[in-house]
Amino acid sequence: MKKRGKGVGIIFYGTGYGNGFPDISKAEAELQDDGKVAIYVGATEVGQGAKTVMTQIAAEALGLKVEDIIFINEDTMVTPDSGTAAASRQSYNTGNAIKKAAEALKALIVDKAVDKMKLNTNIGLKVENGNVFVKTFPSRKISFKEIAEDYKENPLKVEEEFIAQTTEMDEETGQGAPYWPYTFSACGVEIEVDTETGIVEVIDGVLAQDVGKALNPKLVEGQMEGGFAMGMGYGIFENLNLKKGKMKNNSFTNYIIPTALDMPDIKNVIVEDPESTAPYGAKGIGEPVMIPVAPAILNAIHDAIGVRITETPVTPDKILKALK
């Protein structure tokens, strides 16, 4: 017999290293010969879209098009340390460092523009599309490229760093506010349990994620879909099968992850509430998107068959045992 059930999972998650651990990202911005700007960060792209979002942040801060940002990361020979692509921290932490570096370079370029255009002050100057100009007198302008000409040997370059505010918890009481910022998410699923074979099928899902501000909504959705799949795999498929410390399921032949056919069409809800300390309001969501999914599925299983299962993954054998 097939039995259906619905379930919800709700979580909050502290992003970044937290608990007083120094959470530092560095970034460099450098004006190129051709007026483009190079950003150097030690942030790793692991498929999450770091390159895209961080390029957007730099472009926004400098008033340039994304095509005019040269984004250099991962090469430790030429990039400063931006910490790990972990703890859902890169957009927030390194994003902030990039924003600071881009803004500092922009201020420097404006100073040089003041000198070159022989102006009295930087008040009332605007920077747009690689030009610095007087707001009330737009033909009085100079391009990034023209400014760069004076620095061919020794390009204009700045380095900035961002350090997240985190405080240590009280060891005795466990009290404190170890993370900054926190993000929130909720997931709802409908599932179907085959009571004869123990197979659980996730047939519908909705995922709502607080993102601060979605710098790139498509990428956020990508993270949400991927997070749902991972949470679902964690809930009902993925099993390392440790036997005496050895991983028995050590290849994708038996370490089962969801395929496209197993994924339901999910509805993504992006919740925006800009975070004041974040680059353009954006918080990290890499991990939060997967966390509420397995609890939602396990709750739905309870709803469907009336049995509470307390161990993941909920494989067919566990369902049949629970039903007995």
């Binding site: 085959d194 123990g198 395929t259 197993d262 054998d317």
Partner: protein, 288 residues
């Protein structure tokens, strides 16, 4: 040892002659979806690979007067899509459709599935339920054996060094006969069967079971017939109550077979589910 030569057989004759020449130094390769992995893991070490994937004589589905013949090099995709195989054989088409992924189904063959002798080979249960005959061939000629007799042990097929599997034959199904199939995999695609059950039945107007054959996958060292359960069901009226009773009978059979194995509890329980799905599907196909 290294592979010294790959022979791409143009026709059956070339395949048979090559096999006769190189014998135990050679291995046949059809879709390669099993053997390439074995080669990589150095589980087999042939000097010569004889590729039969383009041998026309082995790649045909033939519908004769009284029987159906499927060439050993016919792919899963071809079976799944074949218009020659009618809907009463849905169990065989389903088994093919549920193998791996499209890439695997486009390459993998029914002959490779049989000759690899995996307990979880998906097309074996329906072929057993169809009481299939294996047509085996060498330069010396053809011989026919019941499919079940080809299986010696897990991974061991009863073929001589110079023999290949030519095709599989089974009687055409009549109006009151049909084949059902159910697979229990841990996900919807790319899933090795934890259990596969195929049921071929013949029923009369009163739903009385005139004949039944049940093929099981992943419940033994290789695909098996469930003969005592068949005897239990034969000549009985197949109403829902009796189907439940038969499922419980099969369960106790599987419990006996898997005694001492960690999978016993789950598989003996879940086989009731796959069995009921397969038999209900067969009944439905006949009624349709």
């Amino acid at each position: 040892m290294k592979i010294k030569e790959v022979i791409k057989a143009k026709d059956l004759n070339e395949a048979l002659l090559s096999l006769d020449k190189y014998r135990d130094k050679s291995k046949l390769i059809a879709g390669g979806t099993d053997i390439v992995i074995d080669l990589k893991h150095k589980k087999v070490l042939p000097e010569v690979l004889i590729d039969i994937s383009d041998v026309e004589e082995l790649s045909q589905i033939k519908i004769e007067e009284s029987y159906v013949e499927i060439g050993a090099a016919v792919t899963f995709t071809k079976i799944e899509k074949s218009k020659k195989l009618d809907n009463r054989l849905k169990g065989l088409k389903e088994a093919s459709r549920l193998v791996g992924s499209p890439q695997i189904r486009n390459l993998g063959t029914i002959g490779g599935n049989i000759c690899n002798v995996s307990p979880a080979a998906d097309t074996v249960p329906p072929l057993l339920a169809l009481d299939s005959i294996a047509v085996v061939m060498s330069v010396e000629g053809k011989r026919e054996v019941p499919l079940q007799e080809l299986f010696l042990d897990k991974g061991k097929i009863d073929l001589k060094e110079n023999e290949l599997l030519h095709s599989i034959k089974f009687s055409k199904l009549q109006k009151n006969q049909a084949l059902g199939f159910s697979k229990l995999g841990l996900r919807k695609a790319l899933a090795i069967s934890r259990i596969a059950t195929s049921v071929c039945i013949e029923i009369d107007e009163d739903n009385r079971c005139k004949e039944i054959r049940i093929g099981s996958g992943a419940l033994g060292k290789y695909g098996l017939r469930e003969k005592s359960t068949e005897d239990f069901i034969r000549d009985k009226i197949l109403d829902e109550n009796f189907i439940e009773e038969s499922a419980r009978f099969l369960k106790s059979e599987i419990e006996k077979r898997l005694e001492g194995r960690s999978s016993k509890e789950f598989k003996s329980e879940a086989v009731m589910g796959t069995f009921k799905k397969a038999i209900r599907e067969a009944i439905q196909l006949i009624k349709a």
